[in-house]
Chain length 405, copies 2
């Protein structure tokens, strides 16, 4: 298959490209490299030394003899170029990772809020409009998030995208299946809720074939392919904006920083290892919907954990201490989360879980590159509201020093 991987320079996109290339697909990476620019803006860098995308593609060719094709293109800013690119390359499948994906970054300031909405909505909508306009019948796979469900469960397991409900009508109760009512908890998550509505419309009106993967928090760093050469290594975000909870604990442990738990740590989250994430995309590729089908939604996660339980696990493993800080997010202190993932299980996904020694692998990576860590970048610093933002202590340049007690 000819596959376009939008956002293929990113944390999940890059190992996906290698995996699909190894499977023999013709892989085209489309990326505007905005994530690298955001590293520059924030003054942080991937823990792992990450080469340019061009260099990484060269190494992959050297190691495997396979070619990855890189295209510098902004999906949000230039609709006409997106359309011409699609018309020229006619992909069989399009995997869409190309969005601003950090909740704390999306809440940093009004500029970050408007950037996240503008970038994500326009990237997705431009892509949809261009597929219709060019008449390209590609299978579109989008990376959504578990966060669109919101974390205040109705006391029932979270289904895969659609919810069965009963409605009172004059002629009695009527069963109906609806898109799960969304309750996003940040501007970033909100953009994924908006994406859902875009997908529903274009699948229904134009017969676009769409799979939306509601993904949990990805942890780990290596896949079978990234291990093959030092310069194929994946990016590893550890800062307060882009570092996600488990990876951040592991790096905190590696550099002897206390594990920073926000609030009670009673928030339950869904997780998946990067190797499984990449495998799920392969499985989803094999299950293309037909024209006229509704959007196919899979939950792409393998386990759920309370944040404080994760902290304890990592503390036990590494001897690190746990530090409780105020929660900058506006959310319930404690929540349960039971999530269905039957569809990927039925397709043969055999989950990698936290017990499998992979935690140690990440700690090793973290130790190896510990000298590259800027410790002042470790705490989370975006307040979800003006009041919560004011509770974060700042240095004279407005950079947060550490969460206030």
């Amino acid at each position: 298959m000819r596959i376009a991987v939008l956002g293929g320079d990113g944390f999940v996109g890059w190992p996906t490209c290698l995996h699909l290339s190894e499977l023999g697909h013709e892989v085209h990476i489309v990326d505007n490299l905005s994530r690298r620019w955001i590293d520059t803006e924030l003054g942080v860098q991937s823990l792992t030394p990450m080469d340019s995308i061009q260099e990484r593609c060269r190494i992959w060719h050297e190691v495997t003899g396979r070619r990855l094709h890189f295209h510098l293109l902004d999906l949000a800013e230039d609709y006409e170029r997106v359309k011409h690119w699609l018309a020229e390359h006619k992909p069989d499948a399009v995997i869409h990772f190309a969005e601003q994906r950090a909740a704390p970054y999306s809440m940093k300031s009004d500029r970050h809020k408007t950037y996240t909405v503008d970038n994500n909505v326009r990237a997705t909508h431009n892509l949809l409009a261009a597929l219709v306009e060019t008449g390209i019948d590609a299978h579109l796979i989008h990376l959504g998030t578990m966060g669109v469900y919101g974390y205040s469960s109705v006391g029932a397991p979270i289904p895969e995208g659609y919810l069965d409900v009963e409605i009172d009508t004059p002629s009695g109760k009527k069963a109906q299946e609806i898109l799960y009512p969304t309750r996003p908890g940040s501007v970033y998550h909100m953009t994924k809720s908006l994406d859902q509505i875009l997908f529903q419309f274009y699948a229904q009106n134009d017969g676009l074939r769409i799979t939306d993967l509601h993904q949990g928090i990805v942890w780990g760093t290596h896949t079978d392919q990234t291990r093959r050469h030092e310069q194929l290594i994946n990016r590893f975000d550890y800062d307060g904006d882009y570092g996600t909870v488990l990876n951040r604990f592991l790096i905190q442990a590696a550099i002897g920083h206390p594990l920073t738990v926000h609030g009670t740590g009673g928030q339950t989250r869904a997780f998946i290892h990067i190797q499984d994430s990449v495998r799920c995309i392969e499985l989803a590729l094999g299950e293309a919907p037909k024209q006229g089908d509704r959007v196919r939604i899979f939950n792409q996660m393998t386990e759920t954990h309370r944040v404080r339980d994760l902290a304890e696990l990592v503390a036990r493993l590494s001897g690190a201490k746990v530090a409780n800080l105020p929660n900058p997010r506006k959310e319930a202190a404690e929540n349960d989360l039971i999530v269905k993932n039957d569809q990927f299980r039925a397709l043969g996904l055999d989950p990698i879980t936290l017990q499998d020694g992979l935690l140690e692998e990440v700690v090793e990576v973290a130790r190896k590159y510990a000298h590259r860590v800027d410790r002042s970048r470790v705490p989370a610093v975006s307040g979800w509201t003006r009041e919560l933002g004011a509770a974060v202590e700042r240095d004279p340049e407005g950079r947060a020093l550490r969460s206030a007690s």
Copy 2:
């Protein structure tokens, strides 16, 4: 009150400004005049001769001694100017009409789709982010549409924004109230579904006080204020893009054109007269939610009719013929629609209905300005999909001549 009317140069915005000004409020019109530019793009003009907004404001002052303040500002394109404008003028209420509002226009081409999404989502989100950033606790009233509900009813009356459902949980059935599951039928309607999610998030996360009015199709042209001077007259759209169904029938009748019914005419739609629309906004202004309240949603409509029944009514009244054309929209041929509007009724809205002689008033307006009609602009010409679009006959410049049989 100091009231900002965003989109105050438009069809509903202008009479709203006059009505609120007459009630003694300090009214600030914010508009980028994009609607006038679209007239130019389409080569159509309002049936009624419409002066510049500056001239209309001058006449209002001459007639009443009251001032309307006009500000040329694009809500979508320049977030920083929007923020500074709000910080400077500190409105007590903001009424938000400023979106591209025609479904056929939003489906004309990929450029029109991306324009509609970019303009509407950014206008609304910029406004929300700027209200949070400036800390202005204004009551935001937004004009949404009945179309977000979709027209395939579940067999129960459409409630006002929220739907009561029952969900199966391990501990039995649980009742819950959710945002009505949205099924927009065009890119334009889709943007209003997106707006709903933006409102839900900002009301919940930042305590913004928001009322969303799900409005039916507005008909009529005059209000008590626009009648007071020839140059205060409201705009009247009759073209295939912006002219809405009842007003289009009335103008077709006035110029001796057959009334163009798409498909079987079995589609049921909700309606409201412009005078009632303006009155509803006055009523909503008096009912501001408190900080922390969920978004208040009202259905702003007074009656429902099948399109073919409206055509028959107008045909009887005027002697016009009815012509059935293929439906360019992708929708069910026949639908029922029962809509609740209890909230506005409880606040004292006494609806103006189709029987009340106001139909004749519109026909009179239409006859008076019939010489200004470009007959080639009367048919609806945007196909909802590539196939439906191809069914419309076009002249050598690509302009649709008439719907194909």
